[in-house]
């Protein structure tokens, strides 16, 4: 079991790198969905099997994040006709290099943090921190509104895993709250992106901001 968990954590880190390094938006959505599945599996593979209702909650959360939200984002992609993130604020090679730096930082931070390990293995804390930072990085360094929505989802994945792994008592309440939040956010963003695109013929947040300033 422990070995499987370690492998899943490593897969999670690799998925983050894939997000940092790809320009195709379809692949990004796929990666985020896959990441949600991995994160959904991790708490179930602990030393003890959780209670049945916990399993049900995790399954529901995973279903929303791996199927429903990506479907919503895909729909927005289809309707706006955006395929690629062509001119990111930070290039893909540089993004991956930054990601490596962030991973090192997370590893160092993870070692310093005094947290109950819960048999999660050494890599889990750095991986969750790294997932959060990847999400934030996507929000900061990409132009398209869709990528920013994805970044938000990745950030939420990280928070979710952090909560699941370390909150000893009833983390589920917090999680459902976060999930609801994200769901609403994606919903709003999905609709907004569609509307923005209809109004301005593009969803480039950078240009949207400067237009707002010029006016």
């Amino acid at each position: 079991m422990q070995a499987v968990r370690e492998i899943l954590v490593i897969v999670l880190i690799l998925l983050n790198f894939r997000l940092l390094g790809t320009s195709r938006l379809g692949a990004c959505v796929q990666t985020v969905a896959l990441q949600a599945v991995v994160i959904g599996l991790l708490p179930l593979l602990g030393p003890r099997l959780p209670a049945p209702w916990v399993i049900a909650m995790v399954a529901a959360a995973t279903l929303v994040k791996a199927v429903v939200l990506p479907a919503l984002v895909r729909r927005a992609l289809r309707e706006t006709g955006v395929v690629r993130e062509l001119e990111p604020l930070m290039g893909y090679t540089l993004s991956i290099l930054t990601g490596t730096g962030l991973l090192v930082l997370c590893y160092l931070a993870g070692r310093q943090l005094q947290l109950p390990q819960g048999g999660a293995g050494q890599l889990l804390i750095p991986a969750t921190l790294f997932t959060m930072l990847t999400g934030l990085f996507l929000i900061v360094a990409r132009r398209k509104a869709i990528t920013q929505v994805l970044g938000f989802l990745v950030l939420e994945n990280g928070i979710y895993l952090f909560g699941v792994a370390f909150a000893v008592h009833e983390p589920w309440l917090v999680q459902t709250g976060v999930l609801l939040d994200v769901f609403a956010a994606v919903f709003v963003m999905g609709i907004t992106i569609y509307q923005i695109n209809r109004e301005f013929d593009h969803i480039d947040t950078d240009r949207l901001s400067t237009q707002g300033l010029k006016r």
Binding site: L133, V140, S209, T210, G212, L213
Partner: protein, 648 residues
Amino acid sequence: MTLLLICLALLLAGAAACALPLRSGVIGPYAATGAAVLASVAGFTTLITGAMQTVTLPVHLPFDTLRLGLDPLSALFVLLIGVIGALAAVYGRGYLAGQDRRKTALSWCWYNLLVAAMLLVVLARTGFIFLVAWEVMSLASFFLVVHDHEKSGVLRAGWIYLIATHLGTAFLLVMFLLLGRDGSLDFAHLAAAGVSASLVFALALVGFGTKAGFVPLHVWLPEAHPVAPSHVSALMSGVMIKIGLYGLLRVLTFLGPPPAGWGWTLVSIGAVTGLTGVLFALAQHDLKRLLAYSSVENVGIIALALGMGLLGIAAGDPVVSTLGICAALLHVVNHALFKSLLFFGAGAVIHATGTDRMDRLGGLLRLMPRTGTAFLVGAAAISALPPLNGFISEFLVYAAAFKAVSAGTHPWSGLVAVAGLALIGGLAAACFAKAFGIVFLGAPRSAAAVQAHEASLSMNGVMVLLAVLCVMTGLGGLWMVRWVAPAASQLLPPDMTTDALQTLFDMLGRIGYAALALIACAAGLYGLRTALLRRREVRQDETWGCGYVAPTARMQYSASSFVQPIGVMFAALLRTRHYLHAPHGLFPTGARLHTDTPDVFVQSLFAPALRVLVRLAAAFRDLQQGRTHQCILYIVATLLLLLIWHLG
């Protein structure tokens, strides 16, 4: 107290009805009038009985409960808000008639909110609800000021007001933080002593002084009052700026016995504010701007009186302290009466002619006799002429100051007060001689002034009522002081009042008789004149006609030429700009003179300070470019740094 809660509910309901996109907006003025009348009844009964009531509403707020209270000090202001609020609503209904219905409804929504917020400010007994009501009051009045936002300059004036009032509120926030103890802002627990008391007093001076209009914080008044609809100007100038003074008085009750330094400070602020206000009022060419500066002047007089009162308390002199504080409160009431009357008059003039530029007006007394007469009464009252109410309050200030000099307790501040008040009084008389003379006397200076018409019945009724109130409060000064005294005694040490009040009553009784004698004398002279002129031919001619063959309205004094001698005397402060196109040659074809007196504090204090601020702010422009990415990057970087700092 129950009555006041009903008032508040009625006002909020009225505001809500006006905010709805229905025809229900028409009830706005009625709700405001009804509620304000109820409020004045509640205030008046409390002033008569002197009862103290508090009520705690079962509402949970952060920090404290919702506690409201009514004591004589609050009741005095409740009475003011009620009377002027009701009259301004009646007047405003006539004033706004015929304007866009949607806009008017919205204006009434804010009006109801403003009255409700002012009531709540004076009733609040916890700091939290006080500040919330204070903010609602500021915002509601801002929206009322920018009623005519499509006209040029209105929004700019509104912004100046909004910024000024928020800067003031910032000081108040700090003040309440200093006053609060054990995390409670309940007025019953607020206290400060020693250095922190002086700090609180200074913060209150700046915070409340911004609302009241102490120089140099008065700069928003001459901007906001002229652009607001006249009934709003009347309410703001007559009552809202007094709420600032109420705040100052209320804070003084928390602070214990005042040191002499506070009195000194208030006397100096009062003298400077009064003089600056009246001088700039004198130099204005717009009627409402002139009135706004005159409000600054009167706030100065009130501060002067209050300062004398505090000096009296500090010196343990019961007569000076009672006289000073009673004078301050009385002048608050009196100024509310005559200043709203004058603003109503100015509004009627604007309504009739479409302008408040004095150089376009003239001769309106014949076309608008009722407005003109009411304005004359207000002008005489504000110039402190007996037997009107302005005289009573200023007389009390003089009495306090002379007593302070003769008793030797604070001779120098007494002299400053006497000299300052005398100068202010003389200049105010000149100022209102100009305002009334240029606008209502002489010959019309433009076509608009020729076609003026008398205001509607409701507007005229309100003005006449206020004029009658000015006369009655002038004659009945004794009763006025009796009603004000319980409020004043809240600020005075408990053992200092009774004998001093008796002195005061004696003095006012004599003034009352003298005033009656004066009226009888004037009536006798008028009767004599009528008798002498009987059976004689009386010819009426053009004013300033000087016997010329073809007199023209341009031969009259203009608003600038009337005050030119005084302007020269005070040129160093006023810095009036002259734009002169002088006549040339032996047969000059034309000449023009235009004068302009911008506020010296704006020109040489606030404008340079703001320029520096803008230059400093420009340095941050690279940091803040309005990009979402950049903002989030800052947040992420901050979080990361915090994490590293925490771990390292």
